[in-house]
Assembly symmetry: C2
Homo-oligomer: 408 residues x 2
């Protein structure tokens, strides 16, 4: 069986780790930043070197295509190159690097293929500099309004818009170059798991069935500010203590639901947040995800049972955002599983917790994903790590999946 090349895979990972290197093991490579543009140029240089033709669309998504032997729709694979602040060297970029390695293997090994094979680089998946996340896939798959996205303001430069970054990038192309369902046979995105399951279970490959449904709620507790030194406990309306009791309630109740449910309070703020003042307003978020919408409904029931007054503080909450469970194309999911088995790699079916560009693409073209393990489950941080061996296994599964799609 033809396989991808270890040294080339390692070289790709090392080379791209330099673009935005924080010096602490990770990268900060915001979308369309100088570091991201340097990575894009390296991508183009390397893809041109193996004979790919390059186009970009109006959202600066890059398509590097090696021709097939027949005039057929393309098989597309790739991911994104941008990172969060002090992110890691695998989230997103590994999906691009493995797709590059697959293309390079096909070219160097002269593997016959009927369909064109396109390596895609999505612009601004993280939304770390310009909100929202998955901006460009969202625009071209009809989820987001393009003009609104162009007006998105950079978090690091006051007044600087995504539109300006796009114009300045040198990567803005024509709308007609966008991913086109009529010219696309399938899209396969490889990604690190960003969680600990595959590693903990000693499994090589995650056969991704879909992306978990989720809800995100924001809670607000309104109490009464008062001086820490003068207000007897019985007279207090302590918004922070009300929030603490509610977080504990949520843990107690949500732990009774299905064990695959994950829920997180990641964000909390207190006002005025001064050590000598009883907080009069506290906000926190609750993110909850499960592949089964029935479980998400149970979460909502738990939320609805929160009293309107807790510890004499008023409680309010609202849905900040939500998404339904996305299921990938069954046939493609089966190809991934079959390819992993062919390669002799341990594998299991898994749902993705985080969102990916692929979840927008699925409405548009047949789509699936491949996961490789994340050591320690770490992601969005500098210690994010997947050994080259694991990356190579992912590339081999991607290669075989693409070849199976090509055959059928």
């Amino acid at each position: 069986m033809i396989q991808c090349n270890y040294e080339r895979m390692e070289d790709k990972i090392k080379t791209f780790s330099r673009f935005g290197d924080t010096g602490k093991g990770g990268i900060t490579r915001f979308s369309l930043s100088d570091e991201a543009l340097a990575a894009r140029k390296e991508f183009v240089k390397r893809m041109e070197a193996i004979g790919a033709s390059i186009v970009t669309d109006d959202m600066a998504n890059i398509y590097a295509t090696i021709a097939g032997t027949e005039d057929l729709p393309a098989i597309v694979s790739g991911s994104h190159m941008d990172s969060v602040r002090q992110g890691g060297n695998y989230d997103g970029i590994l999906g691009v690097l493995t797709a590059m390695e697959v293309a390079e293997t096909i070219v160097k090994e002269k593997i016959p293929h009927r369909h064109p094979i396109t390596v895609i680089v999505w612009t601004n998946e993280e939304g770390a500099r310009f909100e929202p996340a998955m901006m460009s896939s969202g625009v071209i798959c009809g989820k987001f309004n393009k003009e609104t996205m162009l007006a998105s303001k950079a978090k690091d430069i006051p007044g600087y818009t995504f539109r300006e970054a796009l114009e300045k990038s040198g990567f803005k192309g024509k709308e007609e170059n966008r991913l086109d369902p009529s010219k696309t046979k399938a899209l396969v995105e490889l990604h690190i798991e960003q969680g600990p399951v595959l590693e903990a279970e000693g499994i090589d490959i995650g056969v991704v069935e879909g992306v978990c449904g989720m809800i995100n709620y924001e809670f607000t507790f309104t109490g009464q500010a008062g001086h820490a030194g003068t207000t007897p406990m019985k007279y207090r309306k302590d918004a922070l203590y009300a929030a603490v009791k509610t977080i504990q309630y949520l843990h107690d109740e949500l732990d009774k639901l299905d064990s695959k449910l994950v829920y997180t309070t990641g964000k909390i703020s207190a006002h005025p947040n001064i050590h000598t003042i009883i907080p009069d307003e506290v906000k926190f978020t609750l993110d909850a995800r499960h592949q089964d919408s029935e479980v998400i409904k149970q979460v909502l029931e738990v939320i609805k049972k929160i009293p309107s007054v807790v510890e004499q503080c008023e409680v309010n909450y609202e849905e900040a955002w939500a998404r339904k469970t996305v299921s990938f194309t069954t046939e493609l999911v089966d190809y991934v599983e079959f390819s992993a088995q062919e390669c002799g790699y341990s594998n299991r079916r898994i749902y993705s917790g985080p969102g990916h560009d692929a979840q927008f693409a699925i409405d548009f073209v047949p789509t699936t994903m491949i996961f490789v393990p994340s050591v320690g489950g770490h992601s969005h941080c500098e210690i994010e790590y997947t050994p080259v061996e694991s990356c190579l296994k992912g590339a081999n599964v991607l290669l075989n999946t693409i070849l199976h799609i090509d055959e059928n």
Copy 2:
């Protein structure tokens, strides 16, 4: 019995409420801000109008003195004019306004007094713009290093130091003008209670015996960041949940101690504070106050029983600051009580929970304080309120206290 004047008292409160008016019932009057300087100029104008001589010291504390009939040490009264952000119209400023009203009454009614009477305005009591609180009284009473204080950076203007604000203010005077124990007979500071006790008990005057001892601890919980969508609950090291459990533990245990104990978690922060990331670091504060040092020791025992690992997160804590209970000068406390009784006002002995400039002065000169009620116990907020009647009662007690000190 000679009394202060209602209309004049009301006029003073209304006039000074304009300096830093937020338009929502309160003020933002950071120390040495333009608003605070305007208030200082009004103070100087009014004090000069009643014949006071004005000096300032090297920390911009203002001393406005009306001469006595003998060459004796001064009786000093006053407070501060700065506020927290969106603070009220009574905290601090009322101690200045009542002292002004007492001086004006003495002058206008030609009340004979042997000692000079000085109205003092302390600079930067709140520490809301330049930390720490009680900065200038701390410097001149030898608690704080002056150079360190001058280097304190403004929270609202990057790089702007207290030294620059002081130089620019026009109120910086000579070190030789500082409050001098050899030239000071007593210091009496009137203040709002900043708590609900006097109002709840229907009492006019708080005869302040001292300032409660307190401790302030900062807790840090260290967990592991992880993606909200991928990390199964059992693998998590959620620093926020560890903090929540600990806050609940503190409430459960501290509620078993003496009912006069007050404790507060006013400040909390989570890192990275993103709704989709499990927090890897959470910090919160615990402020606890009681007049009896034995109760404070019991609080420390509760803190020491916190396990070093909670919910798989490492727990660390340290004392941020502490103060022992401060007792005011017995003779002066008795004068306040006697004056309140003479005026026919209900009164009770009380300990101050918050700190005041007076607590530093007590090491230096004979000192006491007078409290008037705070409606609803509100303080450090825009709805902070004390009716003019109550302010006037406070001024009358202050007047009589000063006259009794003068006689003895």
